[in-house]
């Protein structure tokens, strides 16, 4: 590789890294406890006792209470509110009902109650406060809403560019070095340079996947808007122009669910979006079904049921951009392979922090030196340290 192309890649690496490093460090620090949020929730929530342990609320096993009953219980504790979402669990009879003052209430005005569908008992309320919620907000949008989300998405893309340019620079740097070299006794700079390169190259694929899927996750709101405007509008064309269905005329959820199951037999629902919300039309219960294999479980297919008459309108699998979003979630969270996977996720998160902090150290130490000197350092595998 010529010195001039090394210089170009060095500058790309330096600037993309410099812009995103502080935010990436924040994401790594806040993300670390978030990996274990299920475990932390369970510990702080105590041991939940279910009436029918191990029976998923998403199924239709005998003994599970009707959905209408569950909804009535939820609304009884929230007088004047309307249903927004009902979500199910595949492993336990727990389920959630989300209500709000209006069908299009924003997230901040929603209340989510957790129920045991086998006993009808309230298990608790999903609390909006707490340390974990604070960390999650910081991690997803820094309390800045959509703008914050998209900003962090851009940081994710810069991080990806830093990974690519760093990998390109790895080649000339390692020309005469064996893989895994860690020269710790020559100078502090060389020691951290070798650590930066080794940690970076071994965690490269993981960092790239988590970085890119994180950036895709920041597009959640635009993607859902796009789906609602294009796909959903096409699916409910016959209803265009009709006035919104008032909640007082919502029909039976159990009849609607039975109709939806008839249309997509063998699958279980993940959640129901109610009329007027961001996951349905103004006239439908949107029952989002999971696929029936482990791979397709995360790829949802909504069945639209007329909320007044309980008649089946249509069902259509989600477009590619929603599928990309659905697959990006587990790949970013690391929550799909048990506790061991989460622990590995945490270690690789610490590796990423090592790469970031050593990178900052390498920059601060020689930030006044010319790029020619830095190119020389790369070309000699770190033997010629940059001098002012």
């Amino acid at each position: 590789m010529s010195s001039s192309s090394i210089r170009a890649w060095y500058l790309v690496h330096k600037w993309t890294s410099l812009v995103c490093t502080l935010f990436l460090l924040m994401l790594c620090v806040t993300g670390l406890p978030l990996i274990f949020s299920d475990e932390i929730d369970r510990m702080s929530g105590g041991n939940l006792q279910f009436g029918m342990p191990g029976v998923g609320s998403s199924g239709n096993a005998r003994g599970l209470l009707p959905l209408d009953t569950m909804m009535a219980k939820a609304l009884a504790t929230r007088p004047g509110e309307v249903p927004l979402f009902m979500a199910f669990d595949n492993d336990q009879p727990s389920m959630t009902v989300t209500t709000g003052l209006r069908p299009d209430s924003p997230g901040s005005e929603m209340t989510t109650q957790v129920f045991d569908r086998s006993t009808g008992r309230v298990l608790g309320k999903e609390r909006a406060g707490g340390v974990m919620h604070f960390l999650l907000k910081l991690h997803t949008d820094m309390f800045l809403g959509l703008a914050g989300m998209l900003f962090l998405g851009a940081m994710g893309l810069l991080f990806t560019a830093a990974l690519v340019s760093g990998t390109v620079l790895y080649a000339p740097f390692m020309r005469k070095l064996a893989f895994g070299t860690l020269r710790t006794s020559r100078s502090t700079r060389l020691k951290w340079l070798d650590h930066h390169n080794l940690f970076g190259i071994v965690a490269l694929a993981w960092m790239a996947v988590v970085g890119v899927t994180g950036a895709i996750n920041t597009l959640e709101k635009p993607i859902n808007k796009l789906w609602q405007r294009n796909e959903l509008a096409a699916m409910t064309r016959d209803y265009a122009g009709k006035a919104a269905l008032p909640p007082s005329r919502y029909g039976s959820l159990d009849t609607a669910m039975a109709e939806a199951r008839k249309a997509l037999p063998g699958n279980n629902p993940q959640f129901i979006g109610f009329p007027g919300g961001s996951f349905s039309s103004k006239h439908h219960y949107a029952v989002f079904f999971q696929g029936d294999t482990p791979l397709t479980q995360r790829l949802l297919t909504p069945a639209l049921i007329d909320a007044e008459t309980s008649a089946f309108t249509t069902a259509r699998s989600m477009p590619w951009y929603n599928k990309a979003l659905s697959l990006s979630r587990p790949l970013h969270f690391g929550d799909y392979g048990g506790l061991p996977l989460k622990i590995l996720w945490a270690v690789l998160d610490l590796f990423t922090m090592t790469v970031l902090t050593t990178g900052v150290y390498l920059w601060i130490g020689k930030r006044r030196t010319s790029s020619t000197a830095h190119v020389r350092e790369v070309e000699t595998g770190g033997l010629v340290e940059p001098t002012a």
């Binding site: 070095l177 860690l182 071994v202 996947v209 791979l295 799909y336 061991p340």
Partner: protein, 63 residues
Amino acid sequence: MTQRRRTRQSLLMIFAAPLAIAVLTGVALIAALTGDGWRDALSWFGLAVPILTIAWAMRTRLT
């Protein structure tokens, strides 16, 4: 063992180990998505490789 090689390595030699680790990582990330049981175990093994590589380097490659 000597860390510095007299001859320059080809790109393939430089990236052989990193590429193997990246492929294993990719297999690991997808394996657990496609099911449970042995697929989870495969993903644990695959993602442990980068971590074990660091441990190996710190034991045998420190100079």
